[in-house]
Point group: C2
């Protein structure tokens, strides 16, 4: 029997027709001389009816069916009785009278139900991923992901981009995150590394004159995992020659518009708003502002200065700042105890305290209200607060204020349900600092990566006071998530060398690690730039999920292992010998996995 | 300046227009008060003219230009003088009078010329790959490759296939080729493996109900390299549920038709011819027959039997066979000495000798002609030979005859220029043996892989005499190359267990290596099958190249290293410590790479 259509596609247009359908038994209802089967496939569910009247043999077979059996049937599409119509389903007005059925495979009872709401644990879902992926919401996520990639291919192809694959077995560059290594069998003691991104290879493609490159590329980072991280992840990777940052952003906007239309039928308005990194930190306390809601940060320094509240005055005298947000309706919504809990939380950002007042019809209230009651109007006006609002102040160094209030802004917006979950709010954050100070390394590191071009007007500064440079870089932010980022790259060797110097590379270290790349810059590299979008995160956001695992077919769990195949695993001594490797497992190392 | 078009796109339709172009200096001709520059970009070359008359400053700049400098210019498109027209070039009727020029980057003199004919060594080309890739023929290869992938995405998307990514960090399965391993930092002594193909993951996607899957997937094999092999390679990977082998082949033909049209504007006629593996071995002595020419193998056993030539008779008495090919015009083309050289060569296939006769107007000639002269007509008729032809006989066991004559057929066709190089000849080879005997392993191994479904009529044989089974498998062959292959897969646990038994797996070994997969088959797997096409080889054949390195942006060299970045390389002790690894390099190991 050759399938004529998908089960989930049979609607009134098939009335009276004979169809052949193939799929899984979702549910069976047995009324003795009548059996109903819900047949499921990728497109949805259709109701099958078995009866002596249509075919006695088929009825007998139907009686043996259990959940997840695989069957093929042929039958006639008929209208359901009036009382049996389900208008929520595409197939809800019809059913199929089955004339013939074959059981293609049987199934044991699955360890969890194949339905959207599941309470199976994460590891059980991963171990039986092939069953988990049968659940409609998991299928939806991967289908949205597919629509994103299809739109990407179409849009970029029509704009003369060339899809070029770069190597996965390449050289380890200890800068940045930790590499996954691959031992070489041919060269004892040597290792390939899996790429953290195709960055240098795509820049070389610009040097090679390809002009417009893209790739949907797997990237690898051996970092400690968090909710939104995986050992391997996928980026939509672009690079263009002879274009300005603004032109690259416009090209990207066209791409995003095409994707949003195709994947979720959303009409994205372009140009996408664009703010500088400085403005983002000032207004939202974040370099990835969620602009689906307001509650912006306001500088209160001028208003609160000299009012007699020593904490504020002392911060202001020491080059700090006082900023605040006004939480609409927050006066009622937050108790003193709840505010204290927030104060405790923001200590992790270095904040020493959280000052607050509530705005009432009778003026400001709260522990520090007395200092400011005669300035109540100036304060509420500066922070755009109304009666009933809660005003939260943080006074500290600029970064601490931004981190603390930025956190409060988003966490409170979630708590108070201020966010329109159906919205897709994109924003460009541009003109980033070229460097940032890393506490981990105890030195300045590249804010993006060491190949980022400083602003033209900062090229002299790069030689004299490099850490003040800003960069021709840009992030695209969606709903408060960093969706992607990019920059104009350095295409001249002299600037690249200055960059490494500013990063405290010795000449020898720069040569050893990136000599081959700097030599390339000697041979006529064009001005170029690009960006990369995180496909996993994009698919997650468009599917309305909160973990990228939900839109990856076979993700690792939170301990970087794959419960399905049980990778990673021990390998044979022969395999290790061929690679000249001997694992040395110290007694105090974590218990190995197989013993868990 | 914003580019208005590509240099290589400027033709008569731009006459009189002002253009902005960006690209590389290919060539400079200096006539003193007039300088001509050939400007190159991805689309081709256009001629720029600098003169005092158009702009004196620009002329002065032009005087400083050297090969591979990067420039941007604006200028006016004018017709060339009659004598200067080059009708072989798209831009050959025009030139651009330059009004303004900026030098965007300088270049050292490259180590080889940026032109199609190069005598640079392979390693030099790889070390300076970004320069090698500037050569037009290299750009062409990668652009054809891009057109293939674009056509693949479009065709499969329009046929409801879902692009799904499978993991690159997965579990080592020692069956088959050698795995690349990736040590785990989290689990001491444990390793991920890079996948040799997404085989099991794509089958699980069918189990998950995705119905139609595809992926352009990187695959990894740590094998000894040959001309046509790379440590990492790319396949166009397909899998479908509920379809027969024939239906899968038809779907693939649609895909190939779309690709051939898009990539090389070739109208592929479908259905593609289809022969069984047996027939391919009989007629062409090969499981990947090149059908761009005839010269088929003919069974001469009946004709030569009992003619008195003991070699033939003895082979025939021992269940062997005598087969021959007729080389058109070969009587003149091949001397006795040349034929002897061929005889020496085919000894590697196990052939003990090569018998031959030449067909002349006076009958057969040659050392064994005397035995067959009274059967000359039957012989020439059986092997379809004419006067002037050379008939080559091999008498031996079936496989030896096939290998020897299959080799002679193709090598002679090349030598005698019998092959239409512009042809693209596809053929399906179907119904393969399920197993083949491996001299390396000393046992039967799976001819395709252990997940291949036997023919329905051989299911009983699988239990009793498995090595006689044939499989529901198929290869697609292009111009004598295996372009891809696939099969219907086993979707039932009982058959999968029988398969492992036939492969001499103990129950324990099967469980240890594939238990997780066999458990999956317990839960309602649909009938399914698929195939994989080698993208590198496809791009190579459509570009008219003879090595896949020519259509890979950054390939490894023949020793699995990458001269550009010098990967693989040593890594830091810290990196090794984190992975609990200690390389143990025996004194007699190959000299390590850095010391070479």
């Amino acid at each position: 029997m050759k399938r004529t259509t998908y089960a989930g596609s049979v609607d009134e247009s098939y009335l009276g027709k004979e169809v052949v359908l193939k799929g899984w038994v979702q549910k069976r209802r047995d009324l003795g001389n009548l059996i109903f089967i819900d047949l499921r496939d990728r497109k949805g569910i259709v109701q099958l009816v078995f009866s002596q009247e249509f075919n006695a043999d088929a009825l007998a077979v139907a009686d043996t069916l259990r959940g997840e059996f695989v069957i093929e049937i042929s039958g006639k599409v008929v209208a359901r009785a009036d009382g049996a119509i389900n208008s929520d389903m595409k197939t809800g007005k019809i059913e199929v009278e089955v004339h013939e059925i074959n059981v293609l495979n049987k199934s044991k009872t699955p360890p969890f139900y194949i339905q959207d709401n599941t309470n199976a644990s994460d590891d059980l879902r991963l171990k039986y991923r092939y069953l988990d992926l049968r659940r409609p919401e998991m299928q939806r996520g991967l289908l949205i992901r597919n629509k994103i990639t299809q739109a990407v291919h179409r849009y970029l192809d029509s704009n003369e981009f060339v899809d070029i694959e770069t190597p996965y077995l390449t050289k380890s560059t200890p800068e940045g995150a930790r590499d996954y290594l691959v031992p070489s069998r041919v060269y004892p003691g040597h290792f390939y590394a899996l790429p953290q991104s195709p960055q240098l290879f795509k820049q070389l493609l610009m040097g090679a004159g390809f002009d417009r490159y893209y790739q949907i590329a797997r990237c690898f980072r051996d970092e400690d995992l968090r909710g939104d991280r995986q050992p391997e992840f996928t980026q939509i990777d672009l690079e263009m020659s002879f274009m300005t940052a603004q032109e690259i952003q416009e090209m990207t906007e066209g791409l995003l518009k095409a994707v949003m239309k195709e994947a979720v039928d959303f009409e994205l308005t372009t140009p996408i708003p664009r703010i500088t990194w400085n403005e983002a930190m000032d207004r939202f306390g974040s370099d990835k502002p969620d602009i689906r809601f307001d509650m912006e940060l306001h500088d209160m320094s001028a208003v609160v200065k000299g009012a007699g509240f020593k904490v504020f005055d002392s911060v202001l005298e020491n080059d700090g700042q006082v900023k605040a947000i006004a939480v609409p309706g927050g006066a009622k919504a937050y108790s003193r105890k709840q505010i204290d809990a927030k104060q405790d939380y923001i200590k992790r950002f270095g904040a020493k305290g959280l000052a607050w007042v509530k705005v009432t019809a009778d003026g400001l209230q709260g522990p520090i209200a007395k200092f400011f009651n005669d300035k109540a109007d100036s304060i509420t006006s500066a922070v755009k607060a109304n009666v009933g609002d809660l005003i939260l102040f943080v006074a500290d160094k600029r970064q601490v204020v931004a981190d603390a209030l930025g956190y409060l802004r988003t966490s409170i917006a979630k708590e108070m349900d201020m966010i329109d979950k159906s919205a897709f709010a994109f924003i460009w954050v541009v003109d980033w600092p070229l460097f940032e100070y890393s506490e981990d390394f105890g030195r300045y590191i590249a804010a993006h990566h060491p190949f980022t071009m400083p602003n033209e007007e900062d090229l002299e500064l790069l030689k004299t006071d490099p850490h003040k440079c800003h960069a021709q870089s840009y992030d695209i932010v969606l709903n408060g998530y960093e969706l992607g980022g990019g920059s104009i790259r350095i295409h001249r060797r002299d600037i690249q060398e200055q960059m490494f110097t500013a990063l405290d590379f010795t000449k020898e270290k720069a040569e050893e690690q990136f000599g081959w790349f700097m030599e390339a810059l000697d041979y006529g590299f064009p001005p170029h730039g690009g960006l990369a979008l995180g496909l996993d995160r994009f698919a997650m956001l468009l599917s309305g999920k909160d973990n990228i695992r939900e839109v990856i077919a076979y993700p690792k769990n939170s301990k970087a292992s794959e419960p399905l195949t049980n990778a990673p695993s021990f390998v044979s001594g022969k395999q290790l010998d061929e690679l000249y490797l001997k694992p040395e497992i110290p007694a105090d190392a974590k218990a190995n996995k197989s013993e868990e």
